[in-house]
């Protein structure tokens, strides 16, 4: 092929097939990706596995869920079995965590408490998720006046002192499991809505969303298929932080006498009962529920921290 002047313009007839070389398959393979391509989730999981503290938290939580389901079955004593002869026995081979003032087995009751605490945490997180994602998603996606109005409402709710509202509702509705979950959900979803809205606001302007819109995709489908999957990271992190705060709120309410009522037990109400006997040296009655509340909160916190690092695309290596 001879060299031509730089400003020479080719006409269509001058371009011939010989100019083009057919690339063989071999040359293509040289460019093959050596590292296996990982999806966002696979990569996040890989990084989470490397975080020892977060994994320890995850393993503890799995064990805890297992014990909450099967713990009372493993124990030789049932949850309600009362033996007045065995009042306030210290931990022994017969009663692993000791007994309370009615001679009930603290080991069995600890797992009963775990059921209630985990249930409250899970349901509160689920309700927060549903309301928060819908509310935040709509506000972020619609934008403009709708967003402005919806966020004003959120701002006002955000300014309400969370635990005060929860206490107030519990006073009015009377203590109980349903009350706690309702009270926690009334203001709890606000944080989630703010996060989802912020994310959606950012992502909806990306090209792939625009492309989707150009193809005439329905709004509901865009939100479901394009926006939500890409906001999942922060949503999951927020949920791992909601669960411990709900568990704490339940324990706090039960501790004030506004929570779970007998014959049910939660860690908070067990700790409250145990508090009155601490001066008489029955340490195990306070220790076990308090220990498991703290360990559960600890596990959720380190798991949340680990997920936050693992799901942050900026930290992707």
């Amino acid at each position: 092929m001879e060299l031509r002047k730089r400003d020479h313009r080719y006409t269509a007839s001058e371009i011939s097939d010989e100019w083009f070389v057919q690339k063989t398959k071999n040359e293509n393979e040289a460019e093959a990706v050596v590292r296996p391509s990982l999806s966002y989730w696979q990569d996040a999981w890989r990084r989470l596995l490397k975080n020892r503290l977060a994994m320890a938290g995850l393993i503890f939580l799995i064990l805890l869920i297992f014990m909450a389901i099967f713990g009372p079955l493993i124990s030789p004593h049932s949850v309600e079995e009362q033996r007045l002869a065995n009042q306030n026995m210290p931990p022994s081979s017969e009663h692993w965590f000791g007994t309370d003032e009615l001679g009930r087995d603290v080991f069995s009751r600890t797992w009963l408490g775990a059921r209630i605490s985990l249930f409250v945490g899970a349901v509160a997180a689920l309700i927060d998720f549903i309301i928060g994602v819908i509310y935040g998603g709509v506000a972020g996606y619609k934008g403009g006046k709708t967003d402005h109005l919806m966020m004003r409402f959120v701002e006002i709710l955000y300014g309400l002192p969370y635990l005060l509202v929860v206490i107030l509702i519990s006073v009015v509705m009377g203590p109980g499991l349903f009350t706690i979950i309702f009270a926690l959900s009334v203001t709890g979803w606000v944080g989630m809505a703010r996060i989802v809205r912020g994310q959606v606001l950012q992502i909806k302007n990306y090209e792939f969303v625009l492309a989707s819109k150009t193809f005439g995709t329905k709004t509901s489908r865009i939100i479901k298929k394009n926006l939500l999957p890409n906001t999942m990271g922060p949503i999951i992190v927020q949920m791992t932080l909601t669960v411990p705060s709900a568990i704490f709120a339940e324990a706090f309410l039960s501790f004030l006498g506004l929570g779970i009522q007998p014959p049910f037990a939660s860690w908070g109400s067990m700790a409250n009962d145990g508090l009155s006997t601490i001066l008489s040296g029955h340490w195990w009655r306070l220790f076990f529920p308090a220990f498991f509340i703290s360990l559960t909160m600890f596990s959720f916190n380190v798991l949340g921290d680990g997920l936050q690092d693992a799901l942050d695309p900026r930290l992707r290596r």
């Binding site: 300014g159 002192p161 005060l164």
Partner: protein
């Protein structure tokens, strides 16, 4: 800036009004009247009591009367302790709770910032890991658990400090410690992460290149900027300390507002519940407002943005 303050002020008033309204209607939706207990009162006494507490008027009138009394800071008499008014209780309880709250906040802020700063400066060292383990533990252990642990160990087993009540500075140590651990941990984590971010900034390198002493770099350049995010959480921390005082005052038998609040909940003393809730909310909302304004003044980027805009 003025427009921003006015906007925030209006939002604050709306929130406060919402709380008053919510509290009022929630309290009145409770079935039963505070007077129908086991003790039978005759009909005239009942009528007179209801008249005295305005319970005979239509709900909307009662609501108006309540709004009026809140604006004039008069929360009315207690139903259960007939010789006392809610104002008496607040007047007696507030100074104690305020003392506990302020001391706790100071302890939490000072120790939290110190811990976070040291952890950031020794990033990935043993001190960093130790400080952050303490911080996560501090977040994970609920304050009432902390309080009972402290009583059990320090007061009962070692017998160094008094178990309860609020008489001398010595009595203040345990409640303050129990209440301060959580907020301290949050501040420490926040300070650490924002300090780490600030330390990688160009102006820190410039300061180092100028040959400034490390002490000056840390305190004058890094810390001042690293503390901005800490200011933003002060409002919600104050809220958690305030609600924390309920249980701490209950556990340590401290005669503060929280004790009256918890008592009034258990006795269903509605005027006291309403009064304390509104009072607490007012303090909290005011704090959030002040923190917002302080943040606006402290953060130079916000000011710059405003100037460009106008």
């Amino acid at each position: 800036m003025t427009a921003y303050i006015i906007k925030r002020l209006i939002a604050m008033l709306v929130t406060l009004w919402l709380i008053i309204t919510l509290t009022f209607f929630l309290m009145h939706s409770v079935p039963g009247s505070p007077f129908n207990e086991e003790r039978a009162t005759n009909e005239t006494v009942q009528k007179n009591l209801e008249k005295f507490y305005h319970l005979d008027k239509p709900l909307i009138v009662q609501y108006g009367l309540y709004l009026k009394s809140v604006v004039t800071f008069d929360f009315g008499p207690s139903i259960k302790k007939s010789s006392q008014t809610v104002n008496d209780m607040l007047g007696r309880g507030f100074p104690v709770s305020f003392e506990l709250g302020i001391v706790t906040l100071l302890v939490a802020v000072i120790s939290g910032i110190t811990l976070g700063m040291i952890a950031a400066l020794r990033h990935n060292g043993i001190i960093d890991y130790a400080a952050m383990t303490i911080a996560v533990l501090g977040i994970s252990i609920p304050n009432f658990v902390m309080a009972t642990l402290l009583i059990q160990q320090v007061a009962v087993n070692w017998g160094i400090l008094p178990v309860a009540t609020w008489v001398s500075p010595k009595h203040m140590i345990l409640p303050t410690l129990a209440l301060a651990t959580g907020p301290m941990a949050i501040i420490a984590r926040l300070t650490r992460s924002s300090m780490l971010e600030v330390l990688t900034q160009d102006y820190i390198r410039t300061a180092k290149a100028k040959g400034l002493s490390p002490v000056k770099i840390v305190f004058k350049h890094a810390l001042r900027n690293a503390l901005l995010p800490v200011v933003t959480v002060l409002g919600s921390l104050a809220a958690s300390i305030l609600t924390g005082t309920f249980v701490i005052e209950k556990i340590f038998a401290i005669p503060g507002m929280g004790k009256y609040f918890v008592e009034s909940i258990n006795q269903r003393d509605y005027p006291v519940i309403m009064g304390t809730t509104v009072f607490y909310s007012a303090i909290l909302i005011m704090l959030l407002f002040l923190v917002d304004i302080a943040y606006g003044i402290l953060d130079p980027r916000i000011k710059l943005h405003k100037k460009e805009g106008s």
